[in-house]
Structures are given as C-alpha cells and as structure tokens.
C-alpha cells in the first residue's frame, strides 16, 4: 500500500439523483450512496406520481376504466387497453370478432414501434448522443401517432379498445397510409442502425456496462426486452399466445451478454419483428364487425381473472376480482416498469455515476406505470 492511499481516506456520501432530473424520465428519485464517483448502493424512492388508479378503478364501470388504463403507461396506452380488455373478456367469456382481433394486433404492434422509438431515442440521449437520435426517433413516432389519431381521435390517451372489440372501424384511408408508413419505417430502422450501431463512443459507454445476469433477471421477475437481452427467450406472444398471435410468424431477438448495449440492440431488432407482424396482419385482415354484442353496462359474473400480454416494456397483467356488480371489487395491475426497476440495484453497484444514467435509461421505464 502506497502512502498516497493511506492518507487519502474516502468516505461514502449520499447524493439524490432526482426527483426532477432530466435523465430519470419522470419524477423518480435515486438515493445514491457514492464513494467518490463509484456507486456503492442506490435506494429507489418513488410515489411522486401516485394517482391511486387501482383504487379509482373500484368505483368505475368496467367500460369507464379503459380511459384510466391509458394513463398507466402513457407511452403505450394501446397495450394497456388491450391487456385490460382481454382480462374482462376472459372473465365474461366474450368472443371478439375476427376483424377486431386483427386491428388489435396492428395497433399493439404499432404501439410497440412507437414505444421502442422513445426507449431507444432517450437511451441514446442519456448515453451522450445528445438529441440527434432523439429527434429522429420522435419524428418517426410522430408518423405512428398520426395514424393513432386517425383511428381514435387523440394523440396520447387513445382509449381505442373496448370490451369485445375496438371502439370503431378504421377509416378507409388508414390502410394505404399504414402501408406507406411501414415502407418508411423499414428504411428508417436501417438508417438508424447505421447511425449508431458501430459508434465507438456508444460501444465504450454501453458495452459491458450494467450487466444483468440471467439468474438475477429470473429471480427479480424481469420481463420484456430487458430479460431477453439477458438471454431469456421468453415472449408471451409465443409462450402464451393471446389474441391471434399464434397465426403470425416472427422471431424473438435475444441478447447474449445482458448489458446496456444488448438491451438497445434487442429493441431495434424487435422493431423489425413488429414490422413483420404488421405486414402479415395487414395482408389478411378480414371484413366484418369490429365489436361483439356487448351490453353497454358490462356485468361480469363473480370471480377472479388474470390476463397478461407482452407489452412493449414486458409482461403487463391485469388481475380483476368481480363480485357481479358493474364495477370490479378489486383491480390490480402487474406493472412492467416497477418490476423491471427492481433489478436496477444489482445492475448499478460498482459503476460510476455516469454509467448509472446509462443503465437506468436502458431499462426503459415510465413513471406513470411505476407509481400508478
């Protein structure tokens, strides 16, 4: 031991990252214990965006809950709508018309594209590619959001899916616009890959940083792209096919190392697979009704149900207990972001503060879903 190491005694100190920090993607606080610049431990503090959505759900009709689910993960409301409607349909035993199933798949996959646009863009923004990729991805998301506005009338809280189908049929100009969008997006993903795939700075910042081992990921219950980047080949679209996902052909991209760079690569690869699914769904979308015969006030039989889907961020589940009245007795959400966030502590220990931001960005969370 040199004399220098003996004289320079360091002691840990506490730094609050957040709640209003540009890289926390919402109001989230990390109580970080640092030794110099090395992160010794973090303690997540959340609840700043708590709106009591689960409690509010108990006081609303089953249809009236759908606007609330929009506000869980506000980056991808279509997926939330889908998960909730699937749960209620399972409870009531409603059969959804064929055309509505195809529309749901198209919307859910477009939503995955839009979500991954934001996830990848903001991750690269955190990693130091300041705002250029962010602007590009937001431009592409804008095109998708335009189509959502065309079918549902709003750009963020779509409120499009209904129990037993979707709220209304697509306008006739939707499918031509979608075909055009897919062509542009395919070119965009290629161009976007070319932009930063081999960038040395990104590789230095993200490769090997924040490794999430397979065992830890399974123990923490991690799902979605984060789990798949760690080498867990689990995708509910394949393992527990809901809706009509068993009819489509797609691959499940899997990472090797489970580092931040792999999580970024898995997301880009998933965007390509989503494009593939939408193309297949577009090709054989049938004509017909878009909503099953469902009474205006839905009264499911007493009982409980759990339905889950592969949302863009991971497994999103709704657990509903019904007592036979017009409102659920209890409705619990299995949030993707909150459970993916639990692995953050294991991932960041020993890394520097700058890496903490990159690792946090690579998980892709929405605070609306964490706090509910």
């Amino acid at each position: 031991m040199t004399t220098r190491e003996i004289t320079l005694k360091t002691e840990p100190f506490v730094l609050n990252v957040g709640p209003l920090h540009p890289s926390t993607h919402g109001v989230y606080r990390m109580r970080t214990t640092l030794d110099g610049e090395v992160v010794l431990d973090i303690e997540p503090v959340f609840g700043y965006l708590h709106r009591g959505i689960e409690k509010l759900m108990e006081e609303r009709t089953f249809t009236g809950i759908i606007p609330l689910t929009d506000r869980l993960d506000y980056i991808s409301p279509m997926s939330n709508n889908l998960a909730y409607c699937l749960a209620v349909e399972k409870l009531c035993g409603i059969k959804v018309p064929e055309r509505a199933e195809y529309l749901r798949v198209i919307m859910a996959e477009l939503q995955r594209l839009a979500n991954h646009c934001i996830a990848v863009g903001s991750f690269l923004n955190d990693a130091g590619a300041y705002f250029t990729p962010f602007m590009y991805t937001f431009r592409e998301r804008e095109k998708i959001v335009d189509l959502f506005e065309m079918v549902s009338g709003q750009r963020m809280t779509y409120n499009y899916m209904r129990i037993g189908g979707v709220s209304q049929d697509i306008p006739e100009e939707f499918l031509p616009a979608l075909a055009k969008l897919l062509d542009q997006l395919e070119r965009f993903v290629d161009e976007y890959d070319f932009l930063l795939k081999e960038n040395e700075i990104l590789i230095a910042r993200a490769k090997g940083v924040g490794i999430l081992p397979k065992e830890v990921a399974i123990n923490c219950g991690i799902s979605g792209p984060v789990a798949r980047a760690s080498g867990i080949r689990r995708d509910l679209r394949r393992d527990d096919p809901y809706s009509i996902y068993d009819r489509f052909e797609f691959d499940i991209p899997v990472g090797e190392n489970g580092d931040s760079y792999d999580r970024y690569r898995v997301r880009v690869a998933e965007m390509r697979q989503s494009l593939r699914i939408i193309r297949q769904a577009m090709k054989d979308i049938p004509a017909g009704p878009v909503k099953a015969e469902v009474p205006q006030v839905v009264r499911p039989p007493a009982g409980e149900v759990y339905a889950h889907i592969e949302a863009p961020k991971g497994e999103l589940g709704f657990y509903i207990v019904s007592d036979g009245s017009i409102a659920p007795y209890r409705c619990h959400v299995r949030p993707t972001s909150l459970i993916n966030l639990t692995a953050l502590r294991q991932m960041v220990r020993g890394w520097k503060v700058a890496d903490l931001i990159v690792i946090f960005g690579s998980i892709d969370i929405t605070m609306g879903e964490v706090d509910r």
């Binding site: 009236g64 431009r139 009338g153 960038n199």
Partner: protein, 166 residues
C-alpha cells in the same frame, strides 16, 4: 475497453446526419401554419343537439368523471317532458368520448375545435345554449362517420415527408 479502428463508426453516423441537410423540414410554424387534425378528433368541447336529446341521461351514466349533469322535468304548458338543464363541466372532462358512444339518439358530439382555452374557470362549465353547434364549435366525426365525411382530410406526416431520392 478497446478502441479498434477508432473513428470509422463515428464517420458512418455522420453521413446520416449530413444527409439530413438535403431533406425537407418536417416542422410547422404552428400559429401561422396549421395542419388539419383528424376527422375523429376528440376536441375540448362537447356539442349538444337540443332537438334530438330526450334527457335519458345515458351519457351522464357513461361518463367516468361525472362531468355531465342533466335536469329534466315536465312542461305543463306545452304538455311534454323536457330537458331543463344540460350542463357539462369541461374542466372535469377527459375527452374520452364514452358519452358520444353511449348516446342512443346521436344527440351529443365531440368538438372539432381544439383551441378553446378559457380565461375564467366558470367559463369551463357550459350549459344549454352555449353547448349548441356554431361556427366556432363545429362537430367532430368521432363515432359519427356521416359527420366525418364532411370534414377535411387529416394531414399526415407520412405523406408530407419527402424522402431523399436514392
């Protein structure tokens, strides 16, 4: 941490950003340039059709926020049942459109206009004649395809962007 062929990956990325110089801008100067919104837009204010409304209050029951209030009563002079007050607190309204979907008589529509901010809070609570359709408060085609057919087509970014000529 190794830096093999340092710089090549950076240059590849730079070519993409450089090519953007020759593209058309996608940004609009909002108050001066306006895009057409969706025909199904769920705008700020509801439009109420006084003649068709029977006061059944289906919309009030469907509203998850409880923003609609209806008072009905008998009119002994004209010998009929009438809607006395139809009041919407647009401050509570979340523009979910469930009232429009539930109305069995097509008496309520979402608004097509979107710049309807108010200076006073009490102006947000609208009732009876202020809810009727007018030039400033056009109907939206949400859930009403016959109204949507008369509205201008939505400007889509997909069609607006001119890609580079490869």
């Amino acid at each position: 941490m190794k830096f093999e062929h340092f710089g090549l990956g950076l240059l590849k990325g730079m070519t993409v950003t450089f090519r953007h110089i020759f593209r058309h801008p996608t940004v609009n100067q909002y108050p001066y340039q306006r895009l057409n919104v969706s025909r199904r837009i769920r705008g700020n204010e509801l439009v109420w059709d006084k003649k068709r409304c029977t006061g059944c209050a289906t919309c009030a029951k469907a509203c998850p926020q409880g923003a609609i209030e209806i008072v009905t009563g008998a009119n002994p002079v004209e010998n009929r049942y009438e809607v006395r007050t139809y009041r919407v607190d647009t401050g509570y309204c979340i523009q979910c459109g469930l009232c429009v979907e539930s109305c069995p008589y097509d008496a309520i529509f979402m608004g097509y206009a979107y710049e309807r901010a108010k200076y006073r809070r009490r102006d947000l609570v609208q009732e009876n004649d202020t809810l009727l359709e007018s030039k400033e408060r056009p109907k939206s085609g949400y859930f009403h395809p016959e109204v949507a057919a008369g509205l201008p087509a939505q400007t889509l970014l997909v069609e607006k962007i001119v890609e580079r000529k490869d």
